[in-house]
């Protein structure tokens, strides 16, 4: 056990049981999985991505690259960082990237084969041969963790929030910013990723105003809690910073227990990034061995968790701040045997600290290798200039500190470019692009006093800028800072072992050198070729090392080399919280009609239709197949009577003196002379001359029209007319009202339709007198209705429009009245059969972004003598260009029972002697026609209207059939039935 007998912010009275890789362990409340594993002496926690090297915990925070686990107890989540995973009773986790176990991993053979797996290995090796073949093997071993196999049943939600100031991070800088802004009265939201406020202070022994820093944190939080204009969220991490000051944050385990995570969309007038900095590793051979840990993190494990990560330690540093942690290590009983400092001269203050603790300092030297595989056994040290002072030190812990990296990620998301700070050997936030400021360590102010001052000053400035008064307060805060004095150091590769620059993607110094030898020059290219900085950690720890090494190898500066772009998310985000409540049926909520429930309760097979409606597909009776049901429904329509719910059709009311002018401009045919009470079929084109929609428009009164359109096209048609009226044709006096949802529409059709409607109480004389395309306002059983005689089935047909709330009653009335005539509800699949039989072109099916109305056989609806209409000029252009076009045709397969898939290709009957057959068109819609007792199809065929009578071959997934090309109408070509 490595748990210290005292200390740490853990509750030793609350023992927590957990399992890791199948073994039971215990920890305490307040532990993370990483701290509990270290306390139990578990050194190897995972295997690396490519070489399957044993890896241990390297840090104690969000920057962790190695200790990634598959969490089995709470859902089945891959790639959870053990360093930020709170330990809870019953937690169960496993290592990733290893088989059969983390201590004996077959994949480690990749380490021996390493010379075969350089950077760019996949590109070089597998692209020459069929990738499909290799991918089967590679996909099995590639990637981190495993995709969960069970559905996530947790609840998530999304909220929007607006504030004056958003402060991200409740460390010393974020807290002091919030304190200052809050006093001005501005509305502030403070978010922080940890369960408790304090940031790095939680892991530290710093002093503020002669008190432990956490006392200051506690007092600050108490002050903020009393202010109405301040809100604070813990366990909330900002994952992305987007345009117009939108920050997206994920809150885990909110107080409401029924929500697992909540996604916050936060708009702020000003964003303060106080995300702090993370320690950077040193790059040396075998710097990934378990037991090689970041210096401040080792101190953090001691201070916060009372864990002793090792007993004999070597400190390897390039800065003075690391000396600050020596006393913490020594007090925890860790013997620091040597400080290896790569700086030639070390400042007196630091030397004094070492001297007091009786630790020898070896300046101007560096660690060149680490021995030990599953734990550190010793390190080899030598002078930077040659082999002088070469010696080996035995130890079980290497603390290394390569300086600090400000977490500039969020600022980078916002569009700003980080700039190089040569004094601190790191990239700091550049000029803000949005209303944003970085403060504290994330702004390159690494000392505690700087963090607090920076925060207070920035907070005051923001408050004043936003127009609030700032009361006079004193800023003085005394801290026990030591200096930083960092020097960049990247040793040459001396081939003693793999020196990692990106632990998570297994990228080494040698990979960077190889990329440069192969002439990759831009840092962005080197990143993509080697994958350095591309893993889930997004290069939080390693990126400045990559840039430093590339700059050194290419003989340029860090500034000239520049950084790669950091992209959202800052840390992985669950799919659950992205989806929020929009899952299952709520992804796209289905629209209903008054008849929907009746349809479902009467056994309709429901299916997706346009505009998010779900409609009956067909109504199977017991024992009926889909084809049986469709045949029965289609024959009932042709020979008896049928009923269907036409409510989803688009319906628009048009009022005003210029309605005819609008109709003339949006339809291809003329509407100038439409009498009152009469409707006309209209064809609407896009400006490029392609089919948009067709429908019937009725004239209700002088300046009052009713337009109908296809279900799926309704939003498009409405948008089209809205746009024209509001932008191009503002002079037209037209009111356009979408009444689609206001009316229910029940269609009764078939030769017996009049009998059904008169049986339901409609005036028989009116029914007999109504001509095709007429509309009448009347009453049925007390309901005010609009009756329109239009037909989409090719039969006698009446559409009865009624107030939506009366729709179901009217439907049931007709069902009752139609009982004696065996009235049959029909679904959309049957309507499709009736349409194909009649050869009614559907703009959404035969219109394929190429078809123009002439191709579709709709030339009769086009009045090219009108001065202008939308699409006319493009049609003229089609005619000017000429050439061969595809036309809508009918197809009669020789095999009357041929099963033809929509989309099947049309090719010449004779197969070519060599090569592929010539593609001549495709089937747009095929069905079995129970009326004709054979299979029929509509198709688009090259030069089709001049090829009636020719033979063609239909070639599709369902088989190959010869067929005769015909006119695209199979039933009642003169339309006598629907006009009857």
């Amino acid at each position: 056990m490595s748990r210290l007998s005292s200390g740490g912010a853990i509750d030793r009275r609350q023992v927590i049981n957990f399992r890791f890789n199948g073994t039971s362990y215990t920890g305490f409340k307040g532990d993370t999985l990483a701290s509990a594993l270290l306390a139990n002496g578990v050194r190897v926690v995972g295997r690396s991505f490519k070489y399957h090297r044993p890896r241990g915990v390297v840090s104690c925070g969000i920057e962790e690259t190695n200790a990634l686990v598959q969490l089995r107890s709470d859902l089945d989540q891959p790639n959870i960082r053990a360093t930020v995973l709170p330990l809870v009773e019953g937690l169960e986790a496993e290592s990733i990237n290893c088989w059969p176990s983390v201590n004996f991993d077959v994949g480690a053979i990749n380490g021996w084969l390493a010379p075969l797996f350089p950077a760019g290995f996949y590109y070089k090796t597998f692209m020459a041969k069929p990738w499909d073949f290799y991918s089967r093997f590679i996909r099995r071993v590639a990637g981190l963790g495993q995709v969960p196999k069970v559905a996530d049943t947790n609840s998530y939600e999304r909220v929007h929030h607006h504030v004056d100031v958003l402060v991200i991070g409740a460390g010393p800088a974020g807290l002091s910013t919030t304190l200052a802004v809050a006093r001005t009265g501005a509305r502030v939201l403070l978010i922080d990723d940890q369960s408790d406020p304090g940031g790095d202070l939680l892991f530290d022994t710093a002093i503020i105003d002669q008190k432990p820093a956490l006392e200051w944190v506690k007092e600050s939080i108490e002050t903020l809690a009393q202010l109405d204009n301040v809100s604070r969220l813990q366990n909330t991490i900002a994952t992305g910073y987007y345009d117009h000051n939108l920050v997206i944050a994920v809150q885990t385990s909110p107080d409401e227990s029924w929500i697992r995570e909540r996604l916050w969309h936060i708009r702020a007038k000003q964003v303060v990034v106080a995300t702090g900095a993370v320690e950077r590793p040193m790059v040396f051979a075998n710097n990934d061995r378990p037991g090689v840990m970041l210096c401040a993190s080792v101190a953090g494990y001691i201070t916060r968790f009372g864990v002793q990560p090792g007993k004999r330690c070597v400190l390897f540093t390039n800065n003075s701040r690391a000396y600050e942690y020596l006393s913490v290590l020594q007090e925890a009983g860790i013997k620091v045997v040597e400080i290896v400092d790569c700086r030639e001269s070390v400042d007196d203050d630091s030397l004094k600290i070492a001297q007091l603790l009786n630790i020898p300092v070896v300046a101007g030297s560096h660690v060149v290798n680490v021995s030990g595989k599953k734990m550190v056994r010793s390190v080899t040290v030598r002078s930077i200039n040659g082999d002088a002072n070469l010696h080996t030190v035995s130890c079980d812990l290497v603390c290394h500190s390569g300086g600090w990296n400000p977490l500039v990620h969020l600022q980078s998301h916002s569009g700003a470019k980080p700039v190089y700070d040569s004094e601190n050997v790191t990239f700091i936030p550049g000029k803000p692009i949005q209303s944003e400021r970085s403060v504290g360590a994330s702004n390159g102010r690494f000392l505690l006093s700087q963090c607090i001052t920076d925060g207070l000053e920035t907070g005051q400035k923001i408050g004043v800028e936003l127009g609030y008064e700032f009361p006079e307060i004193s800023f003085e805060k005394q801290t026990n800072d030591v200096n930083y004095a960092v020097e960049g150091f990247w040793a040459e590769d001396d081939n003693t072992g793999k020196a990692f620059v990106d632990y998570q993607n297994d990228v080494t110094r040698a990979d960077l050198a190889l990329a440069m030898r192969e002439n990759f020059q831009s840092i962005e290219h080197i990143k993509r070729y080697t994958t350095a900085g591309m893993a889930t950690d997004q290069g939080k720890m390693g990126n400045p090392n990559v840039i430093g090494i590339v700059a050194q190898m290419s003989g340029t500066s860090m500034t000239a080399t520049g950084t790669t772009t950091y992209r959202p998310p800052f840390q992985p985000v669950s799919f659950g919280v992205i989806g929020g409540m929009e899952r299952g049926a709520l992804i796209i909520p289905a629209r209903t009609t008054p008849i929907t429930e009746w349809n479902i309760s009467h056994g309709a097979a429901m299916n997706e239709a346009g505009a998010n409606f779900r409609r009956p597909f067909y109504y199977p009776k017991s024992g009926e197949s889909m084809q049986d049901a469709m045949n029965r429904e289609a024959l009932a329509t042709r020979n008896g009577c049928a009923i269907y719910d036409a409510t989803p059709l688009g319906k628009f009311e048009l009022h005003g003196e210029d309605v005819p002018e609008l109709l003339n401009r949006v339809y291809t045919n003329s509407f100038s002379d439409l009498p009152i009470g009469q409707g006309r079929f209209g064809l609407m084109l896009r400006e490029d001359g392609r089919l948009m929609d067709d429908g019937v428009t009725f004239r209700i009164d002088d300046n009052h029209y009713l337009m109908s359109c296809g279900t799926g096209a309704a939003p498009v048609v409405l948008g089209h007319m809205e746009r024209l009226l509001q932008t191009e044709w503002q002079d037209l006096k037209v009111y356009l009202i979408n009444v689609s949802a206001g009316w229910a529409n029940v269609c009764v059709c078939g030769p017996l339709a009049r009998e059904v409607l008169s049986g339901a109480g409609m005036d028989r004389e009116l029914l007999d007198s109504m001509k095709f395309m007429q509309i009448k306002t009347t009453k049925v059983a007390g309901f005010d209705v609009r009756v329109a005689r239009v037909s989409y089935t090719g039969e006698l047909s009446f559409e009865i429009n009624v107030r939506r709330r009366d729709g179901l009653q009217l439907w049931e009335l007709f069902m009752q009245a139609g009982k004696q005539h065996d009235i049959t509800p029909i679904g959309s699949e049957t309507s499709g059969v009736l349409r194909i039989e009649k050869g009614f072109v559907s703009p959404g099916i035969e219109g394929d972004n190429i078809t123009n109305p002439y191709d579709a056989g709709l030339g009769w609806v086009i009045d090219m003598n009108k001065p202008d209409f939308i699409g006319k000029r493009s049609l003229q252009r089609d005619l000017n260009i000429g050439g061969e076009r595809q036309h809508v045709v009918g197809l009669l397969p020789d095999d009357h029972n041929a099963k033809i898939a929509d989309g099947s290709a049309l090719v010449p009957v004779q197969a070519p002697t060599s090569g592929n057959p010539e593609f001549q068109g495709h089937v747009t819609a095929a069905c079995y026609s129970p009326t004709l007792e054979r299979t029929i199809a509509l198709a688009l065929l090259k030069n089709g209207k001049n090829r009636h009578g020719e033979n063609i071959r239909i070639s599709g997934l369902e088989g190959s059939f010869t067929a005769t090309v015909t006119k695209p109408v199979f039933y009642d070509p003169r339309g006598e039935k629907m006009r009857a």
Partner: protein, 86 residues
């Protein structure tokens, strides 16, 4: 996500809107008098330049108002256009 200033509803999230393209693209008064090339240019080409672009936006999931804004395609800075229509 951009904040778009709707003249009726104020600043709203971008996902309530549809972009209608550059407002400089105006339908020719007399399409019949254009050449095929001029007509194709109107139909298919935008200037698509870097910098401030005057655009139509439609508050489709809101009040359905069409309006014009000036949007910088580099910085996404948005100003309501000074005139109703360009």
């Amino acid at each position: 996500m951009l904040l778009i200033p709707c003249p009726w509803c104020g600043q709203r999230n971008e996902d309530e809107f549809m972009c209608g393209g550059e407002s400089a693209r105006v339908r020719p008064d007399d399409p019949a008098s254009t050449t095929d090339a001029q007509w194709s240019d109107y139909l298919y080409n935008s200037t698509n330049h870097k910098g401030v672009v005057r655009e139509w936006w439609w508050h489709v999931n809101g009040c359905t108002k069409w309006f014009v804004i000036d949007r910088d395609t580099v910085t996404h800075a948005i100003q309501p256009a000074s005139e109703e229509i360009s």
